[in-house]
């Protein structure tokens, strides 16, 4: 999926200062882009606008040439073909792992659904946990389920909100490698938000650095955070 963001500005209700100001960014199909910045820099807001979970921004967002956010247009999150892994995973506690992954496969026959769930479980190496419930898994396993669930409907773009912040340091190192491998296999445009330089170095092709809602730098890892 190709994504184009132009002059995007966003205010939270009641705030006089914008959370995002005049953001311009183009992302090509298959690219892995990191939105990097301190807390409060507006990086999660940008991700939520891309997802369609916020819709009061001015400026435009186009996805594969379709205007999903603009002065007179808004495409609902469920119609954008975008997958998202939430910071705390948001796995439905009342559904087992298999059902969580199948949740986004709406228009498939049951056989196809089963096959796709199996494929996703294999991708994240969790086949044996299919019948377990989220609270029975470790943090790393929950993160992989969230990833499998987001990838199952084959989204054009994957959004990850602080994907490693809930994991122990040792686990973070291991999961970063696994995630890179999975993303390369899935060949999906990926945008992830982080405040950790190690995440950026391990995963990103390009980095957009945000500071107080303004994009202050954009380029490769070497051109931006390593400088």
């Amino acid at each position: 999926m190709n994504i184009k963001i132009e002059n995007l500005t966003f205010f939270y209700p009641g705030n006089k200062k914008p959370s995002l100001k005049d953001i311009n960014l183009e992302i090509k199909e298959g690219e892995i882009v990191s939105i990097f910045g301190e807390s409060g820099s507006g990086k999660s807001t940008l991700l939520r606008l891309l997802a369609g979970l916020e819709h009061k921004g001015s400026g435009t967002i186009d996805m594969d040439g379709v205007r999903v956010l603009g002065p007179n247009s808004f495409v609902q999150p469920e119609k954008r073909g975008v997958g998202m892994v939430f910071q705390d995973y948001a796995l439905f506690p009342n559904m087992n792992i298999e059902k969580n992954i199948a949740f986004g496969l709406n228009k498939m026959s049951n056989d196809k659904k089963k096959a796709r769930v199996k494929e996703m479980l294999e991708l994240v190496n969790l086949e044996v946990f299919a019948k377990k419930y989220p609270h029975e898994l470790s943090g790393g396993q929950q993160q992989r389920v969230a990833l499998a669930r987001a990838l199952a409907p084959a989204p054009g773009c994957l959004l990850l909100d602080e994907p490693f912040s809930n994991l122990d340091t040792d686990l973070q190192v291991r999961i970063r490698g696994e995630l890179k491998e999975i993303l390369l296999k899935a060949k999906v445009t990926t945008i992830f938000v982080t405040h950790d330089r190690a995440d950026v170095r391990a995963l990103a092709d390009r980095v957009a650095v945000l500071c107080e809602g303004i994009m202050v730098n954009l380029g490769t890892v070497e051109e931006t955070i390593d400088q």
Partner: protein
């Protein structure tokens, strides 16, 4: 591609909010009419008594409920003593007995032919001097209402104290404070918001009470509204009294806001470790068990025991088909009203969760309004509104219901159900709102990101997770409706009775023993509801700890 459009929840919430405040328009308009002679008389000779009596009843009931509720909550949360586990849930049981039933029972028990006087006469050869021990008096009403409403404060405070981190109490101990010192210097200030919330609930219930005050012959605002309306046929004065009562309620809500303060003592930054209870031994353990035991005896065991005794004597005459029909009427109307309340509550609470803007906040406040408005005021408001509605719909009735009486909706159950919805929406809404708050937005957002629309997300994701909140909301609303008296009394259609109105009728005819079977049915249904509620809340708390 979709344009931004107002969603289902926005439109539906707006309609519900309008339906909730529209009826009050009539009440306010009536206030601007010229007052009649009757009102001048009430104002000159009676109003001072109504205000004085209402204030005395409210102040002392709040004081005693607060004393009993707080000490019991602290005892159960901080100490171990014989039967503590049993008392932990049993002390909620006085809520199962509506205060008017408690009043009839105690009044009858302490009368000349009642069990107390008869026993004293036969054992000691002397009775109690009615000049000093007349329960049908202001102190009697304060005793009945305090013992009956105390569980509100006990429940709210117990939940708050059990959720407190032990570190606060332990630092108090390390700094050399005694248990009593910790209670007054640490526990009470920290629990201020919970104390104020519980006390406000008690005060609102006292302002709304009709059954106790009317049976004991105490002139309060609620009884005066009824008297003006029914005995004197003076709806104008009833409306003016209702308006003054509302000024009291608004002043109370304002006071509550000030007392709660802006400080919130949250424990978010410390690892939560529940309070470890201190074991009481010897005389202290005996005192603790006795104190909890006496309150349970007075608030539940003695009155229920007396009701059972009377029921054994009278069941042959009173436990016929009629009792079961009344039971079904009561349950039926409670369940129908509770379902409507839950649907409205879900719509407004979900709108507030998803939008979180000024409009959604206003709608939430409107849905909380009804619980602060005493039953008598709700009754007047709704009857005025429905009479106007019937007049407005008259041409339609002539077409679809030729030969029907002029008042169709005002003479039907629609009026009573609407009044229940207005009065008790707050109870259902608060449970659902709390449920949504616990779930948060993340699962909703995740479902939307996985291609599910609003309806599918609600039924597949939100609803299953909301089940405990819905169950507690449903039980709470049903409990309140089954116990409710003034609305049922005024707004019931001709020949429609509930258990509560039947008990009132019996009591009015001075046939208290005959009211026992119906009273016990109410107590039984409500006690089951309370126990389900208690289990649901405990289960929810355990799940939270597990997660």
């Amino acid at each position: 591609m979709l344009k931004r459009k107002p969603g289902f929840y926005g439109i539906a919430s707006t309609i519900i909010a309008i339906l909730l405040i529209f009826p009050f328009g009539d009440l306010i308009l009536q206030l601007f009419q010229k007052p009649n002679e009757n009102w001048m008389e009430i104002k000159e000779f009676l109003l001072r008594d109504y205000i004085g009596n209402t204030l005395i009843l409210v102040f002392f009931t709040a004081l005693f409920s607060l004393l009993i509720g707080t000490t019991l909550a602290w005892l159960i949360s901080a100490y171990d003593f014989p039967l503590r586990k049993f008392f932990r849930w049993a002390l909620i049981l006085p809520l199962a007995i509506p205060s008017y039933i408690l009043a009839y029972t105690y009044a009858s028990m302490s009368s000349y032919t009642g069990v107390v006087q008869v026993t004293l006469r036969s054992w000691l050869g002397t009775g109690l001097d009615q000049r000093y021990f007349n329960i049908m008096s202001m102190p009697g009403a304060i005793f009945i209402l305090s013992i009956s409403l105390m569980p509100y404060i006990y429940m709210i405070l117990r939940a708050f104290m059990e959720g407190q981190s032990a570190s606060l109490i332990e630092s108090g101990r390390m700094l050399g404070k005694s248990h009593l010192g910790i209670f007054f210097k640490v526990v009470v200030p920290v629990s201020r918001a919970a104390l104020v919330a519980g006390t406000s609930l008690v005060v609102l219930e006292v302002l709304s009470d009709y059954g106790v005050a009317s049976y004991f012959g105490i002139q309060t605002f609620s009884t005066a509204i009824f008297r003006s309306w029914f005995s004197l046929g003076d709806i104008d004065s009833a409306i003016r009294l209702a308006a003054i009562l509302m000024v009291f309620v608004l002043a109370l809500l304002f006071l509550e806001k000030i007392l709660r303060g802006r400080r919130s003592y949250s424990m978010s930054n410390t690892k939560h470790r529940p309070l470890s209870r201190k074991e009481l031994k010897g005389p202290m353990a005996f005192l603790a068990t006795s104190y909890a035991g006496i309150i349970l005896l007075l608030g539940f065991l003695i009155p229920v025991g007396q009701l059972i005794y009377w029921a054994v004597l009278t069941y042959k005459d009173t436990l016929g088909n009629e009792a079961w029909i009344l039971g079904l009427n009561t349950l039926g109307i409670a369940v129908i009203s509770a379902i409507i309340i839950l649907v409205f509550g879900i719509i407004i609470a979900n709108y507030a969760r998803l939008k979180n803007n000024l409009l959604s906040k206003i709608y939430s406040k409107i849905s909380l309004l009804g619980y602060s408005i005493p039953g008598a005021v709700v009754a007047i408001t709704m009857i005025l509104f429905f009479i106007h509605l019937d007049r407005w719909l008259a041409p339609l009735y002539r077409i679809i219901l030729p030969g029907a009486p002029a008042l169709v909706l005002s003479m039907s159950l629609v009026l009573l159900v609407s009044a229940y919805v207005l009065r008790f929406l707050a109870v259902g809404f608060q449970s659902i709102d709390g449920g949504f708050e616990r779930i948060g937005r993340k699962y909703h957002d995740a479902s939307k990101m996985l291609g599910h629309g609003e309806a599918s997300t609600f039924f597949r994701v939100d609803l299953p997770m909301l089940k405990p909140a819905l169950l507690s909301g449903f039980s709470l609303v049903c409990i309140d409706i089954i116990k409710e008296l003034p609305l049922a009394l005024i707004l019931r259609p001709f020949n429609f009775n509930t258990l509560a109105t039947k008990v009132f009728d019996y009591a009015n005819d001075e046939r208290i023993p005959e009211a026992s079977v119906h009273s016990l049915l109410i107590v039984l249904i409500v006690a089951i509801g309370i126990l389900i509620l208690n289990k649901t809340l405990d289960k929810e708390k355990n799940n939270e700890h597990k997660n």
